[in-house]
């Protein structure tokens, strides 16, 4: 049963390295924008509409909070995901992205 031991070891090593890289780049090296400056830099208010930039939109990227950018307008489709007739994943993949 040496072969199963080796395969499990390799699989775990891949998992461990993958997770380490994600956590190092995503947590340790990650510099979040302070909330104040973020609104200032990324979103501007002009003539009754809010202009949002892609960093703001890209935060809404999951099942519980999904925005789509379609023809330069933002749509919050969170409640629509569960009732989407096709594969909900086709929407989910595009959450927080340009998806015209």
């Amino acid at each position: 049963m040496k072969i199963t031991k080796i395969l499990a070891g390799i699989a775990f090593l891949i998992f461990f390295i993958f997770l380490s890289i994600i956590f190092i780049t995503g947590v340790l090296l990650y510099k979040p924008n302070s909330p104040g400056s973020a609104t200032q830099n990324s979103s501007t208010y002009s003539g009754g509409s809010i202009i949002l930039n892609m960093t703001e939109i890209s935060k809404h990227n999951n099942v519980n909070d999904c925005w789509l950018l379609i023809n330069n307008k933002i749509y919050d489709v969170t409640s629509f995901i569960s009732s989407h007739p096709g594969n909900s994943q086709t929407i989910l993949v595009n959450c927080g992205k340009e998806s015209t």
Partner: protein, 424 residues
């Protein structure tokens, strides 16, 4: 039945969810872009991995139908090991594949995906399940624990499975979109849960019914003892060559271990011939007469199913199944027994075997003290190997080598039977 039947059975059960899943939506649309393909690989690994995880619990139950499917309990345990490991590997890749969609956004959102929190119960239970599984299986593979400590730790895979169930039922996925897939996965989860509950709770209660008591303990040489077990009522029918699991009602000897029965089925008592090979077997020498014994069995597939002539090859304490067979010898087939031991004092049963031997049972003894191992040439010098059933029981390496040598001489694989205890 061929052991392949068993493996095929489990593989099919594990792949059925994949087939149902493929029926939900055309494969083309699932793999049309990279992120989508990764998400779907993540789902495949989850469906098949969870099924194998559940089936690994089933493969730990010692149910009779499994032994028939795999033609031998040792093979069932091997399958338990193989499918359990496969489940672990698949389930490790499950979150990796799924995290790619977050990685496409930012490394930070991917990192957040792996951090459990109370708001995301479904994902968190999956993370907990996989963490428990990883710790326990890494221990199994890479940490050498005492047998009973390891066995206790391994039970907590039931807890990992419980969190996996919560995860599967709560997460919004393809399972929630297809009743058929949901139904099938629930059946898998139930199979896993019932198998676990049966083996950890019910089994201990059931086995108490098969009670024996120690009748006699005899020292045969420095490290081999014969233990005679007297049944409270009647012995379940068994075949010479089968084995039982035995646990004694005495501190530190409760943990059950597998032993070949060395008495003949016609005897009123069960005799076990046990070599000292660890703490457990060491303590066994001093067991008191009258101690209650729990017996589970018989199991095993190490016996002739036809009337062909036979070759028996025993290495050291591997003589035990052949003792039972010799004591039970039917006259239809001729048998050559090759008994390989280190030196004279190790050949504990040679006198009795010589006494039984006649024109139907020829006993050949080999001493390996001077480095010469028993090989196929030694066997060919003494007997024909064509059209005979070959039984080998001994150290792993010896069985492996001899098996290879028989195959190289053109012996049909199906005719070679080897008893493996390594995994029990």
């Amino acid at each position: 039945m061929n052991k392949k039947t068993g493996y095929l059975f489990i593989i099919i059960l594990g792949l059925i969810p994949l087939l149902i899943w493929l029926g939900i939506e055309p494969i083309g649309s699932r793999f049309s872009n990279f992120t989508g393909a990764m998400i779907n690989l993540g789902r495949i690994s989850a469906l098949v991995g969870t099924s194998f995880f559940a089936l690994a619990f089933l493969l730990n139950t010692r149910l009779k139908f499994l032994e028939n499917l795999f033609s031998g309990l040792d093979e069932v345990y091997k399958a338990h090991h193989i499918f359990g490991t496969s489940a672990f590997i698949l389930l490790l890749f499950h979150p990796i594949f799924l995290s790619v969609q977050y990685l496409a956004i930012s490394a930070n959102s991917a990192a957040m995906f792996f951090i459990p929190s109370f708001e995301k119960t479904a994902i968190s239970s999956g993370i907990i399940a996989l963490s428990i599984m990883a710790v326990l299986l890494l221990i199994t593979f890479f940490v050498k624990l005492k047998y009973h400590v390891w066995k206790f730790s391994h039970k907590f895979l039931g807890l990992a499975f419980l969190f996996a169930i919560i995860h599967v039922l709560l997460i919004s996925s393809d399972i929630t979109r297809s009743n058929l897939l949901e139904g099938y996965m629930i059946i898998m989860l139930l199979i896993g849960s019932f198998s676990f509950l049966y083996k950890t709770l019910l089994y201990d209660l059931l086995k108490k019914k098969k009670r024996f008591s120690v009748e006699k303990v005899m020292k045969l040489n420095d490290n081999v003892v014969e233990v005679v077990l007297k049944p409270e009522t009647k012995i379940k029918k068994y075949k010479a060559g089968q084995f039982i699991f035995v646990g004694f009602e005495q501190k530190e000897l409760r943990e059950e271990h597998p032993f070949t029965i060395s008495s003949a089925p016609s005897e009123n008592n069960l005799r076990l011939t046990i070599k000292e090979s660890g703490d457990w077997t060491k303590k066994l020498k001093d067991i008191k007469v009258g101690t209650n014994v729990f017996v589970d069995g018989p199991y095993g597939n190490f016996y002739a199913k036809n009337n062909l002539d036979q070759i028996w090859i025993a290495g050291g304490i591997g003589i035990t199944p052949f003792l039972s067979m010799a004591r039970d010898l039917k006259t239809q087939s001729k048998v050559d027994l090759f008994y390989s031991v280190r030196e004279t004092k190790d050949a504990v049963f040679i006198d009795e075997l010589n006494k039984i031997s006649d024109k139907n049972l020829r006993v050949h003894i080999f001493y390996t003290l001077h480095g010469k191992k028993l090989d196929i040439e030694d066997i060919l010098k003494n007997t024909e190997i064509k059209n005979k059933e070959i039984f080998i029981c001994g150290p792993k390496k010896m069985m492996f080598n001899l098996k290879k040598q028989f195959l190289s001489k053109g012996v049909d694989k199906k005719k070679i039977h080897a008893e493996e205890f390594g995994l029990l």
